[in-house]
C-alpha cells in the first residue's frame, strides 16, 4: 500500500488515480510463430475503475485471452503501458510479476485448476505459502475464505470429493486468500451446468457488492449479463464497451429457476 500513498502525495489527480485500478494504454501484442507474425492485440486502451464488474467477450481469436493474460501479469505487452494499482507493471521482471500475481490478482479458471490429492484447505492456502504468510494466520485466512464461499464445513475434502460447483468455489476462495485488488475469472462457468453457473455468478456478484473489482472473460452472453460493463473484442481491438448499471441479481435468477430434476 506504500506505493498508493506515494501516488496520492505526488499526483495532483490523486482522486482520479485512486479510482482507476487498471489503466491500459495502447497495448499491442505480437507472437512470432515461425515465419509469420501474429498480431493478437492491435492497440487496446481501457480504464477499469475500482469496484467495477467487467465482462470481456469475444469469439476465439478475438484477442480476449491475450488481453486476459496481460491483465493477469502472466504475459507482457509488446508495446503500450499497463498500470495496475498505479504501478507500471509492463516494465516489471518475471520475478516481480510473480509477486504481483501473488498479492494483487486472484485467478479463477475454467478448469478449476485445483491441486489434486490436496485438501480444499491446503489448496486455498497455496498462495499464502508464496506470500510467506505465517502458517497459523494462513490457515485462519483460508478458513475465512472457504466460509465466505459456503464451504467452511468441507475444508478437508479433496477436489475429487467435491462437485464441479464446489471445486470452483474452492478456487474462488483460493483467489481471495491474499486479499487481491482484482479477481480475474476466465470462463469460470465453462465447465458447469446452467444452475451451478448462476450459483457461481451469485458468489462473484456478492464479492463485487463487497467492493472487489472483477474482470470476467466469457463467451456466453447470459453469464456476461450479470456484469455491470461489457467489453467486446474483435480482431485484437475493442469493438464495444457498454455500461449496464443495473444488472440482474444472480440470487433472484436462481430463485426463479426450476429445481434440478435428478
Amino acid at each position: 500500500m506504500a506505493t498508493m500513498s506515494n501516488a496520492q502525495a505526488q499526483s495532483p489527480s490523486a482522486e482520479t488515480n485512486l479510482q482507476r485500478l487498471i489503466q491500459i494504454t495502447d497495448v499491442h501484442k505480437y507472437y512470432e510463430l515461425g515465419e509469420t507474425r501474429v498480431h493478437a492485440l492491435r492497440g487496446v486502451s481501457v480504464v477499469i475503475e475500482r469496484g467495477d464488474f467487467v465482462a470481456i467477450m469475444g469469439a476465439s481469436g478475438s484477442g480476449k485471452s491475450t488481453f486476459m493474460n496481460i491483465l493477469g501479469c502472466l504475459d507482457k505487452p509488446s508495446s503500450g503501458t499497463y498500470r495496475l494499482d498505479d504501478i507500471e507493471v509492463s516494465s516489471y521482471s518475471k520475478k516481480e510479476l510473480a509477486g504481483i500475481r501473488n498479492r494483487r490478482i486472484g485467478f479463477v479458471f475454467q478448469g478449476f485448476n485445483l491441486l489434486a490429492r490436496t485438501t480444499a484447505q491446503e489448496n486455498v492456502e497455496l498462495p499464502t505459502v508464496y506470500a510467506r504468510m505465517e502458517p497459523k494466520q494462513a490457515a485462519a485466512r483460508a478458513l475465512e475464505c472457504l466460509t465466505l464461499v459456503g464451504l467452511g464445513d468441507r475444508t478437508d475434502h479433496m477436489p475429487s470429493q467435491l462437485s464441479g460447483g464446489q471445486q470452483q468455489r474452492v478456487a474462488i476462495a483460493r483467489a481471495l486468500v491474499n486479499k487481491p485488488a482484482i479477481l480475474l475469472a476466465d470462463e469460470p462457468t465453462g465447465n458447469l451446468d446452467s444452475r451451478t453457473s448462476v450459483e457461481i455468478m451469485g458468489i462473484i456478484q456478492q464479492l463485487n457488492e463487497q467492493g472487489l473489482t472483477i474482470v470476467l472473460v466469457t463467451h456466453e452472453s447470459d453469464v456476461a449479463s450479470f456484469a455491470k460493463r461489457k467489453i467486446t473484442f474483435k480482431d485484437g481491438r475493442i469493438r464495444h464497451d457498454e455500461a449496464f448499471p443495473n444488472p440482474p441479481s444472480a440470487g433472484e435468477v436462481l430463485r426463479d429457476m426450476p429445481e434440478q430434476e435428478d
Binding site: L74, D75, K94, A98, R101, L126, V129
Partner: protein, 406 residues
C-alpha cells in the same frame, strides 16, 4: 516459499508415487550400499593384514634359499642348495642384531590318521621356530631339542590338520603317518588364520624335527629357509644387512653377482600389503561409484517425467505467485530428498550387508564413519547434480503454456 514447507511438499509428492519413488531410490540405495560394503571389505582386509603382521612381530625376518639361473632358466626360490644349517648357526653367532633363529625345510604329502587322510605341508624345524614366530601351543607341547638331536618321529599339528584328521578326538599321544613313517603327536598349535602376506592357511601344517625331515624323508642336506627374529623392531633392518653380508661372505658371492638367497623383512611386507590393500579399496570404491552414477541418472530420468506430468501443477503454482526460483527449489529439493533418503537406506543396507559378510564369510569389515559421511554427502550431491536440469526445465516453463497443458 520457505525450505521447510518445500520439503513437506516434496515428501508428499514422493509419497503419492510410492512405487516409483522406491524404484528411483533403488539405484542410489544399491550404489551407496555397495560403496559402504566394498570400502568396508577393502579397509577391513587392510586392517586385518596390518594387525596380523603386527601380531607376527614386526621384528621377524625370513631368509629363504634364493633363485638360481640354470641354463638360462630362472628357478623359483628355494631352488638353490647353498643355504645350510651352518649358515643359521653362523647368523646366530655373528649377527649382533639377531636374537633367535630356526632352520626350516618342507615337504608335502598326505598325512594319515586311522581311515582319514589330509594333504598338507610338513615343515621340518627346531623348537625355537615357535618363539621366532611368536606362535603358542593350543594343547600338548612342542617337540624338544632332544627330539631334534635324536631325529625322533614326533610331530605337532596345526588347527586345520587337527580339525580334518581328528575331529572330536584328542590328538595328543595319537600316531599319524606321513610317507610311511609313524609320528607321535605331542601337541596342537594355536590357530593362526590366514597368512598376511600370501593369504594361505597357516594352520594347514604339520611340524616335525628338521633332522627327521632331512634324513628320513627328503634326503636333502640343505635348508629351504631360516626364520630369524631381530633383537627389536628397530634393529630389523640392521639384522637384515648383517645377515645379507654374512651370507654373501659365506656363499662366496662376488661383488656384482646376485645373491643366492633372499632376506625378507616383515616391515617391507607390511608396507607392500598395505599398498595392495589400498589399491583394492580404491578399485572396489570405483566400481561401486559407477552404480551411484547410474542411480543419479535414474533420478534425473524420473524427475524429467515428473516435470512433464506436473506441468499443469507448475502452471497453477506460477499463476498463484510462485517465482522461477520457487519452482526450481521445489524440484531440486524433491530430487535431493529422493537421493538422500536412498542414501540413508543405502547406508543401513550397506552396514547390514557388511555384518552379513562378516558372519557368513568371516571377512573382517571396517565401516569407517568417514565412508558414511562421504556417502551422505555424495548422495545429496548426486541429487543436486542430476536434479538440476529437470528443476531448471520446470522453472523455465511459460505459465500460460503450462496452464493450458492437458
Amino acid at each position: 516459499m520457505g525450505t521447510l514447507p518445500t520439503i513437506r511438499v516434496a515428501l508428499r509428492a514422493l509419497a503419492r508415487n510410492k512405487m516409483r519413488s522406491i524404484l528411483t531410490m533403488l539405484g542410489i540405495i544399491i550404489g551407496v550400499a555397495a560403496v559402504i560394503a566394498m570400502v568396508g571389505v577393502g579397509q577391513g582386509a587392510q586392517q586385518q593384514v596390518q594387525s596380523q603382521i603386527a601380531a607376527m612381530g614386526s621384528n621377524m625376518l625370513f631368509v629363504s634359499a634364493g633363485s638360481v639361473t640354470r641354463g638360462g632358466m630362472r628357478m623359483g626360490f628355494g631352488a638353490t642348495k647353498t643355504l645350510v644349517y651352518e649358515d643359521m648357526t653362523a647368523i646366530l653367532r655373528e649377527c649382533p642384531s639377531v636374537a633367535a633363529a630356526a632352520p626350516g625345510s618342507r615337504s608335502t604329502g598326505s598325512v594319515i590318521f586311522g581311515n582319514d587322510n589330509w594333504s598338507t605341508q610338513v615343515i621340518g624345524t627346531e623348537p625355537q621356530y615357535l618363539d621366532v614366530r611368536s606362535w603358542p601351543m593350543a594343547s600338548g607341547a612342542m617337540f624338544t631339542q632332544n627330539d631334534v638331536d635324536t631325529s625322533s618321529n614326533v610331530a605337532v599339528i596345526g588347527e586345520t590338520v587337527r580339525k580334518n584328521l581328528f575331529g572330536a578326538t584328542d590328538p595328543v599321544g595319537q600316531t599319524i603317518r606321513f610317507k610311511n613313517l609313524p609320528f607321535k603327536v605331542t601337541g596342537v598349535l594355536d590357530a593362526k588364520g590366514q597368512s598376511a602376506a600370501m593369504g594361505d592357511d597357516q594352520d594347514d601344517v604339520v611340524m616335525i624335527p628338521i633332522s627327521t625331515l632331512l634324513k628320513k624323508i627328503t634326503g636333502e642336506s640343505w635348508l629351504r629357509f631360516i626364520v630369524v627374529s631381530a633383537t627389536s623392531k628397530d634393529t630389523s633392518y640392521a639384522a637384515q644387512k648383517q645377515i645379507e653380508g654374512l651370507l654373501r661372505d659365506r656363499h662366496r658371492i662376488r661383488v656384482g653377482s646376485d645373491d643366492d638367497f633372499q632376506v625378507r623383512n616383515l616391515a617391507d611386507m607390511a608396507a607392500l600389503a598395505d599398498q595392495a590393500g589400498s589399491i583394492m579399496t580404491t578399485l572396489l570404491a570405483a566400481v561401486a561409484s559407477v552404480s551411484l552414477l547410474v542411480g543419479g541418472i535414474g533420478i534425473m530420468n524420473i524427475m524429467l517425467v515428473s516435470v512433464t506430468e506436473r506441468t499443469r501443477e507448475i502452471g497453477i503454482r506460477m499463476a498463484l505467485g510462485a517465482t522461477e526460483a520457487d519452482v526450481q527449489k521445489q524440484f531440486l529439493i524433491e530430487a535431493v530428498v529422493i537421493s538422500l533418503t536412498g542414501g540413508i537406506i543405502g547406508i543401513l543396507l550397506g552396514v547390514g550387508a557388511s555384518r552379513l559378510i562378516t558372519q557368513t564369510l568371516g571377512w573382517a569389515i571396517l565401516i569407517s564413519p568417514l565412508a558414511i559421511v562421504v556417502a551422505v554427502v555424495f548422495s545429496a550431491a548426486v541429487g543436486i547434480f542430476f536434479g538440476f536440469y529437470p528443476a531448471q526445465k520446470a522453472a523455465r516453463l511459460d505459465p500460460i503454456e503450462a496452464l493450458r497443458y492437458e
